[in-house]
Structures are given as C-alpha cells and as structure tokens.
Amino acid sequence: MTSALNPRFSFETFVVGSANRLAVTAGRTVAENPGSAYNPLFIYSGSGLGKTHVMMAIGHAAKTIASQLNIEYLTLDEYVEAFHAAIAAGQGDAFRRRFQNVDILLVDDVQFLTNRKEMQAELLRLTEALQQSGHQIVLASDRPPAEIADLDERLISRFSGGLVVDIGIPDYETRVAILRRKAEERGSKFQPGVLETIAKVEYPNVRELMGALNRLIAFQAVNDSPINAEAASKVLGIPTAASPSVASSSVASPSVASSDEFSQFLTDVTVTVGKAVEAWRARVTEAVMRWEGEGYRTGRLEKLLEQETPAAVDEAIAGYVQDVERLKALESEVAVLDPQAAGGKVFRDPDHMGEAEAAAEKVRDGAAPPPAPSAAFPFESYVAGPSNDVALKAVRDVIAKPGKKYNPLVIVGKSGLGKTHLLNAVGLELAKKKKNVVVACLSTQAFVDELIAAIDGNRVDWWRARYRRATALLLDDIQLLAGKERTQEELFNLFNQFLDGDRQLVFTAPAHPNTLNGIEERIVSRLEGGLVAEIAEPDKELRRSVLERLLTQQRVPLEPALVDYLADRPIDSVRSLTGVVQRVVEAAAAQDGPVTAGLAREVLEGAPPPRRTTGLRTSGIVVSSAGGVRSREKMVWDWPSAGDRVIEDLR
C-alpha cells in the first residue's frame, strides 16, 4: 500500500542550486543520521520543485548507508487510506505498530491534513511515538506547517520543532543546469543559447520547465533541423522583449518599459551575484552548512568568508575537517571511558582543539589504569620460610597462570606478617608478565573511598569502566568491606566479571573469610571458592632470614651472636621484628657504638626496673625485683591496712 521509492529520484540526479541547497543538505544529513539530526524534517515548496525527489532521495541514501533500515515512503492520502482500511478491518493497533517500527517514515503531501481531525490526531500520536523512539520522520507539504489550514496547534509545533526547509524556485543558473542535464538524459542536443533562452523564462516550477524543454525537443525532432534561440522563443511563446537579443540590444528600446523589466533586472543581478560569490565561497559555505548541521562550531570557516581573498581555502577546509575528525576520535575515545563526558560542547569546537585535548586528557587521567601495585614491595625481597610456604606457593602459581589456577586467592594472616607485601609483589609480577596488563592493586579503604567519590560526582559508570578494564584486581584488607553494602554490591559484580573472564583476583584478610563479620554471604562464598592461603607467625628460620636482610639493609655487620639473639626473641610478626631491629640500631647510633648482641639485650630487656625504696612492703616472700620472679601474684606490694583487715576478719 505504500509507494516504492522511485530509483530515479536520488540525490545524484537532483540538480542542486541555491534555492534547494539547504533542503538537500538537510536531507543528506537526515539520511546519514536518521532520527538524530533534524527530527522531524519538514520540507515545503510549491508544486513541482522537487519535494518528492528529495524525500525519495533521503530514503535511497539512508538505505545505501544502512541497508537494514526499515524505510517507508507514502503520501498522506495513502496513509489515510491505509488507516481507514485498518480501522474497517479492526486492525487499528496492528496499523499503529506497523508504523511505529519504521526507522524512517517519509510522508508526502501533508497539506491534505486540512479538515481531517482524526488523521491529525493519529499523525500527532505517530510523530510523538517515532520521535520518542528516535526514528526519523520526514514530511513534505506545499506550504509551511503554520499555513496548513485547520491544522492542530500541537502538530504545528511538532512539525516546526525539527527543521523546516523550503525549496524555492530554481534560479537562472540552476534552471540552465537542470535543462542541460535533462536534455542530456533525453539524448537531445541544442544549439548554444537555446537552453539559456528557456531558462530565462521564470517558470513557476521545474515541471513546467520540463514541459517547455519537451516542446522544444518535439519541435526539433519534427523539423529535423537544430532550433536556434530565436526560434525557441517563438515556439515557447516567449515575448521578444525578454529574449536576450532584444533586451540587450539597446537601452533606448521602447519595449524595455515592460513589466518584465524587474525580472530581467533580477536575472542580471543574479548573474552578478553569482560571479561575486565565487566558487571558493560556495565551497566554504557548503562546509559551514555541513558541519554546522552536524553540530560543530564553524567560526574558523566563517572567518574565512569574511576575508576578501583568503589564501589556501582548500587547505583551510581540509585542516578544519582534520580537526573535526580529531574531535570525533577524541569524543569516541572519551565515550568509552566516560559516557557522560562525551557529547560535551568542548568536543564540538574545532577552534579550541587545546581545550578538547585537555578535556580528553582529563577523562583519560580519570580513567587511567586504576591504582597499580607499589614498587616498594618487590617479590624478590619477600622472605620465604616454612611459615609462609603455602601462601608463597599459591602466589607463584597465580603468577604463573593468572586467573586459571587459584581464583580468587585470599591471603590470610595476622597483621604484620607481610600480606600487603605479598599482594603488591603479586601485582608487580603480574604487571611484568605482559604488556597490556592492567593490574589494579589498592587497599579496600581506597576502593571504598573511590566509589564514594564516584557516586558523589555522578560518575559511577566511569568508575566501573575503570575497574572493568583491569586484568587483575588485588584488594588489601578485605575485612574493611564490612557494612559497605554498595561497595560489596559493586565488588560482587566485578567479581563475577573477573571470574567469567578468567582474570585474577587476590585479596588479603586478617582471618578466614567466613569468620569476618559484616560481609555478605555471596561475597564470602566467592572468596571461599578460590584458595585461602594462610601466613603463619614467622618461625625462627624465617625470622633469621628477615633479620639478616634487615640488618644488611641497615649496614650492620652480620654478627652470629646478634642474629641468634634476635631470632630467638619471641616476636610474632615481621613488622615487630622490623621495629626491634630499628630500636637496636638507633640505640647503637645514639651510643655511637657497634650493634652487638649485648647492646641488643640491653635495649630489649633493658636495665632492671627501678627498685622501690620507700613504702615497700613485702609479704615475707623474698622477692628479688632484679631477679627471675616475674609473676606478680607472688608479689604483694600494697598490703591492706590493719583496720581493714580486722573488719574483714570480724565478718
């Protein structure tokens, strides 16, 4: 029931002149970006000036660009007919659905909406539905929306809301161009000046112009001899006053004083303007219109137009286009990282490339790889020993086959045993393995803080994208997630994505995950699903290795007695061990002496506690405050007074 698109009506076969350039440009833009550029596009012009041609050309062009598009062209009458048929068949809803699924709807002759209230309502509804779903609607009429009699105000505002363009009567040059092309299409040749003679007549539309051409073609065919300009004027009944030979012959000619003087004048001015507006201006103007249509600022090109004779116009246009392309590239890059930042005005102004680059840089920074592992914790400096054997082996496996073997890996151990070191070491090793590896390694607290900042800045998408890019996620102190519901939610999603993509997850926790409070079951179960590797308190052997390394770092000569003494101390974490070494070394520095076992003993066990010389009462048990008795129960420093005791006894 809808008309097929006539293949002859394409943009290629449309002669573009000043009167229809805007309509064609708008039409091309719509065909290239259906639904987004100008929606609806309303084209109006008098009859026979090419509305239908442009409409069909839009359909063809859109189809060429994206063949899957569903394009419907129909006249309003056809639409009304279809609607009535559908209503009669009780298929009103099906009819509506059918048109709502059209990607580009081209409706011709909408001026016939006059006095059709129900169709106006139907079209209003359809326009709204199509606009809402981002589908393109193109309308054509012989007059602007506001002049269609009896048209619903809402329709007028809808129609005018997109772009309303008119196609004017072609100017002289365009008429000549149309005639040449048509004559060529018909395979007819005319003597020079003949087509120009026809073109001089201001026919109200192209159809009549074609009629005139047809008459000449027929006349020439019958007479079997080429027709000249004068004969052509006679055939077409063009008054001689308007024929070029007479008009230009003499200023004093009395026939000049005809009412056609003005159109003659108009033609002359048109020629002059055409010469004045040189070709380069046309090219620049075309570029301005095109890029303006796409939403780019064209200040630079407009400046060109202000100059009289700018040098290197084409280079300037090319430069502009290059900048626009760069903007497009930046915008699409930004769109991936931060959909909200894309679409900003800064990406539409080629005159301020710097700002666009800076904006993109900012987004890139924001979306720059998430926090990386700290280089302060190299894997080499992690000291192995029986107490962390299991964890270390698991870590080696993870480094060898990230995401494959143990995923997630949870390193569990008390504070100060080197979990953070190990975590960062894993991160560093993973990052070293391949080039395009993005390792996110941070403390859970930082992770939570970042999410809060992202929520605050309305950039959660961006934040997510940032972590989704990572090929490994390493979180320290996972117990800090307790009570952070939103973070747990986000982590849960990330978790699943990482697991699905065989990307490595490593966590640290002070205790077994299932003993941690405030963490959702679904996360705990996922943590348990991988490997939970425990780091025990450092054994003597490990303490020894750590000590040796620490002392070497402090440039202290490794004296066996010192190392033995320190390694024998009951120290329960590597961090305390570091503290101990620090204290001893500082003490040695204070005394300006060497670090020895004796000094260490003195520093760590200290001088005997100061003896209480006054008010010291003992229970009779011999107490040597300097000696080996350590238990306080055996020492009675403050005996109750005698009176208290008596009362006590009486009870």
Partner: protein, 200 residues
C-alpha cells in the same frame, strides 16, 4: 554597513539616488516601485511636501529573494535635492553602498547639477569616503524634453562625468533608462564586494 554577510547569507545593498532638486530621483523610485512585483517590495516610504517635493527622503526596500543562496535585499533611497536640506542628505548618504547621480538634462540646470555633484563629493568626504571608491552611476534625466532645451548625453558627459563612470540617458517618467541605471549601479556595488577593490 555590512554589505554581504556570508554567515547569515544575506546581501544588503543601500543605493542612494542623489542629485539636484527636481531632477527626478523620486520619479526613478516610483517607476521601479511600479515594476517590482508586490511580494518583492516593501512599502515605499515617501515624505513629501505639499508641493510634492521630497522633504526628508524616499525609501524603497526591494527583496530580490534567494540569489545564489543569499537572500538579497536592495534598499533604495533618495535625498532631498534642495540645497538647504544638506543635513538630511548627509544622513541618508551614510553607509551607502552605491550612488546614482540623477542629473537634470536641461541646459539651464547645469550649474545646479555641478553644485550637487560637488555637494555629493563633500558629503561623502564627511563620512570619510572618497568619491573615487564609491560605486557611482550618472543618469541624465529628462531626455524626453525638446532637444532645444536639453543637453545631449555626450555634452552632459563632458560637463559632469569627469570621472568617466557609466552614464545613462533617461526618461524616468516613462521608465526609459531607469532599470539600466539600477542594474549598472547594482553591478558596480556587487563587483566591489567581490573584489574588495574600488569599483569603476
């Protein structure tokens, strides 16, 4: 005055008909007004004295429609010719893109023509415009009068047209030469905008 605006795609030409009193400037405009289709012309504003003399100025806007994608408008002005309205003349002349000097062909009006021409030159200078850079057309009106009363085209050229600008004999009352003059001045104006160099 911005003659051509490529950004908004507009061409606006202000053309001033200059000349001594009673030389036929307003007649020129009236004739043009009568030939321009109604849709193309604005209201002709004419402020005339009781004796039909231009008191202030005539103004006729013409819309030439879209030309090469430019909406083109001509604004035609006349100045009051009488000597004592010089302030008005100067005002009207401000921002003119082209000038048509409508001379009176009658032999006895020659001095007035010369005086008006000099007045044009000095008024342009007041606006900082060199008359040599201003698109200028000479029109010798009233060529329909008996030959014994008027000077010929050549004689008038000799007497007035020392800059050798395009000149036209005319009979504004009947329209002879009116559009030729307008066309010539339009061409000069538009050519000037194209080249940016002094026309003529």
């Amino acid at each position: 005055m911005s003659l051509v605006n490529f950004t908004s795609r507009e061409i606006t030409c202000k053309i001033v008909y200059y000349g001594p009193g009673r030389s036929g400037k307003t007649t020129n405009l009236h004739y043009i007004y009568g030939r321009v289709p109604e849709t193309r012309r604005g209201r002709m504003v004419s402020l005339a004295t009781q004796t039909d003399r231009t008191l202030f100025f005539d103004f006729l806007p013409i819309d030439l429609g879209q030309i090469s994608g430019f909406s083109t408008r001509f604004q035609l002005y006349t100045v009051p010719g009488q000597v004592y309205y010089n302030a008005t003349r100067r005002l009207v002349l401000q921002g003119a893109d082209g000038v048509v000097f409508v001379g009176d062909s009658q032999a006895r009006q020659l001095d007035e023509n010369i005086e008006s021409l000099q007045n044009l030159q000095s008024n342009l200078l007041e606006h900082g415009v060199d008359v040599r850079t201003m698109p200028l057309i000479m029109q010798y009106n009233k060529q329909d009068l008996p030959p014994e009363l008027i000077l010929t085209h050549a004689e008038l050229d000799d007497a007035l047209n020392f800059r050798s600008v395009p000149s036209f004999p005319a009979d504004a009352l009947h329209g002879k030469g009116v559009f030729e003059t307008l066309k010539a001045v339009s061409e000069l104006v538009l050519k000037k905008l194209a080249t940016g160099s002094p026309a003529a």
